[in-house]
């Protein structure tokens, strides 16, 4: 029973990891960009939520009403202003610019908010739980997982059933010819990044409710998201959810053996899958 509980908790936290990863997956699919600052943007969202709550006294999840559009707008501006200039074939510029961005975000947040650990208080949501069949299912983890599923379902729908998704797919396939259809790739990429940071906002708020956060948590979140994407397979959002779940379960099992093993166990699971199935479990595209 204890084992089942551990696995269940791992599955649910996998939802959070999938939220971390969904944006990464989307951006890579559309413009082959891996944003090293992705994790730091999740942390940025957490801090923005914190400030919004200070100003409005809204409960954390309600603050999303403000944080999502703010982050989306920031994403649009970031892509159009800086990241678009790095795209164009060469690997180094987007990687190094996003690396610089990561350093700026971490130290900017440090300068403004200090290194103090923060947390958002979601009140009863954090401790409430439901009992089912001898298992205790926390309301917050269940909500995180449900949100991940909903977000991924929404992204899938957008991608395959809307004009915007069509624009994303076409630009990703052949940006040059997409231009002949009236699709300006600069704007398409900017919309993709706006969408990505909207998802990042949701991930950031959940992160901030679930645990403490500080300016330097970014790289850790990036790595979890990245591992979920690779385990699940490139180009497959549902695969990313599976990847997150596997990561969460591995970490849970590791923690059960020894608390210091938690994150390491996740890395080991990632490396094992990388060794045995380099393209991930359910790949749909090549890197």
């Amino acid at each position: 029973m204890e084992l089942v509980n551990i696995i269940l908790q791992g599955v649910l936290v996998g939802g959070l990891y999938a939220l971390f990863a969904a944006g990464l997956s989307l951006i890579f699919g559309v413009m082959r960009l891996v944003n090293i600052a992705h994790g730091d943007l999740i942390v940025l969202a957490a801090y923005i939520a914190m400030e919004v709550i200070k100003l409005t006294s809204l409960p954390p999840l309600a603050a999303l009403v403000f944080v999502v559009p703010l982050m989306a707008a920031f994403g649009y501006a970031l892509q159009r202003g800086i990241l678009n200039r790095t795209l164009g074939g060469d690997l180094l510029p987007p990687l190094l610019v996003s690396f610089g961005l990561s350093v700026i975000l971490q130290n900017g947040l440090l300068a403004i908010f200090t290194a103090d650990s923060r947390k958002l208080d979601a009140g009863v949501l954090e401790t409430a739980s439901v009992s089912a069949g001898g298992l205790s299912i926390g309301l917050l983890p269940a909500l995180m997982f449900a949100t991940a599923v909903a977000v991924i379902a929404a992204l899938q729908f957008m991608f395959y059933k809307t004009a915007l998704g069509r624009a994303f797919r076409a630009t990703s396939d052949d940006a040059e010819i997409a231009e002949l259809m009236g699709l300006d790739r600069r704007r398409v990429y900017a919309w993709a990044m706006a969408l990505c940071l909207g998802v990042v906002a949701i991930a950031g708020v959940f992160l901030a409710i679930r645990s403490n956060f500080d300016p330097f948590m970014g790289p850790g979140r990036l790595i979890f998201g990245f591992e979920a994407v690779i385990i699940g397979g490139l180009g497959n959002l549902w695969g990313t959810l599976a990847g997150g779940v596997i990561l969460g379960v591995a970490q849970g099992l590791g923690a059960a053996i020894d608390p210091g093993w938690q994150i390491l166990a996740g890395h080991v699971a990632f490396l094992l899958i990388l060794a045995v199935k380099p393209r991930g479990l359910f790949p749909r595209m090549d890197g």
């Binding site: 690997l91 987007p94 990687l95 130290n107 790289p219 790595i223 390491l264």
Partner: protein, 334 residues
């Protein structure tokens, strides 16, 4: 029929070569004429120059952008301390041994990490560094999460204060100059030609028979070994290892990347210029703490967008400068 001559060097590069030799001679004698703090600073300079030159070899020439070289810096430190503490190996001897161990470790690491490409390779290398760090934090014999200091008995093996400082300095100088010379020699050789070909077009170079995979693997392992030796030296200089310090992304990767990007990626002179700029900036801005890193990050972005080849790359293109020529010069006789 136009006549032309083929040469590998120019007047500027020959002058630079002469200047470098004089500089090197002066530095070798430094323990006798310089202060402790100068030796310390110069040693640090050599260490960063070496790390930057090696990272540049991987990223600028082999196309392997690693954000995880700190794995080997830390590994070098931990191997050295392990050898000294548990096997009684003399610390200085531990340095090349650490390089050897790192080369062996790099083989399976490369096998895993090379399954990823491009930016995913970068993050994958970062994950590996995290794995090393987490394992080190679990090693209670080496102090676990807080790390361990080199005991006095081992420190004595390095000699009295003057000899210890001089030795560390000479080793740093040797590693710095050695890495520079090695990379220069490598790039002037056929391997260097192969690398440039790969950089220009992987498809074309494969069709010419260049075994790209083999070349990349070999270079990755070589750089791992040398980076570990540098890490070994760093740990001896600090007389301490701890997981967070030894495997620090900021200290051993972020700064190195900034040095190479600002100095000029894909050139040999770039890391030299970059290290100089970095130390100058540090002199004037380090008091400002976080603002310093903010500035570095912004500068790196601006350079990458405006002058992607860095300060040296821009100058080299504009003025045709080259101090470490790796190509050939054709001079037409008019």
């Amino acid at each position: 029929m136009t006549q032309f001559t083929l040469s590998r060097s120019s007047v500027a590069s020959r002058v630079a070569g002469g200047v470098a030799l004089i500089l090197l001679a002066g530095l070798v004698a430094a323990p006798w004429w310089a202060s402790s703090s100068f030796l310390h600073l110069a040693g640090e300079f050599a260490v960063y120059l070496a790390l930057a030159t090696l990272w540049n070899l991987l990223a600028g020439y082999t196309g392997l952008v690693s954000v995880g070289q700190q794995a080997y810096v830390g590994l070098g430190g931990y191997i050295t301390f392990s050898l000294a503490l548990f096997l009684g190996v003399h610390p200085v001897l531990a340095i090349p041994l650490a390089g050897l161990v790192a080369a062996l470790v790099a083989v399976p690491v490369a096998a895993l990490v090379f399954r990823l490409a491009g930016a995913y390779f970068a993050i994958g290398s970062w994950v590996m560094a995290e794995v090393f760090r987490l394992i080190a934090a679990q090693a209670t014999a080496l102090g676990g999460g807080s790390g361990i200091s080199l005991p006095a008995s081992v420190t004595k093996a390095l000699g009295g204060k003057w000899l210890r400082e001089a030795s560390i300095f000479w080793l740093a100088l040797a590693l710095g100059a050695g890495c520079l010379a090695l990379v220069y020699g490598l790039l002037r050789s056929r391997i260097g030609l192969a690398l440039t070909a790969i950089r220009d077009s992987e498809v074309a170079s494969t069709s010419l028979g260049i075994r790209i995979g083999r070349v990349k693997h070999a270079l990755y392992i070589l750089v791992a070994a040398l980076t570990a030796m540098i890490g070994a030296l760093i740990s001896l200089q600090k007389l301490r290892v701890s997981p967070d310090a030894a495997f620090s992304v900021n200290d051993w990767t972020a700064f190195v990347i900034f040095i190479v990007v600002i100095g000029g990626i894909g050139t040999i002179e770039g890391p030299i210029l970059g290290t100089i700029v970095y130390f100058l900036l540090r002199e004037f801005l380090a008091d400002f703490g976080t603002l310093y890193l903010l500035f570095l990050g912004t500068l790196a972005i601006v350079v990458m967008l405006a002058a992607p080849k860095g300060l040296w790359g821009y100058a080299a293109e504009r003025f045709g400068w080259s101090l470490f020529p790796v190509g050939y010069r054709i001079t037409f006789k008019d």
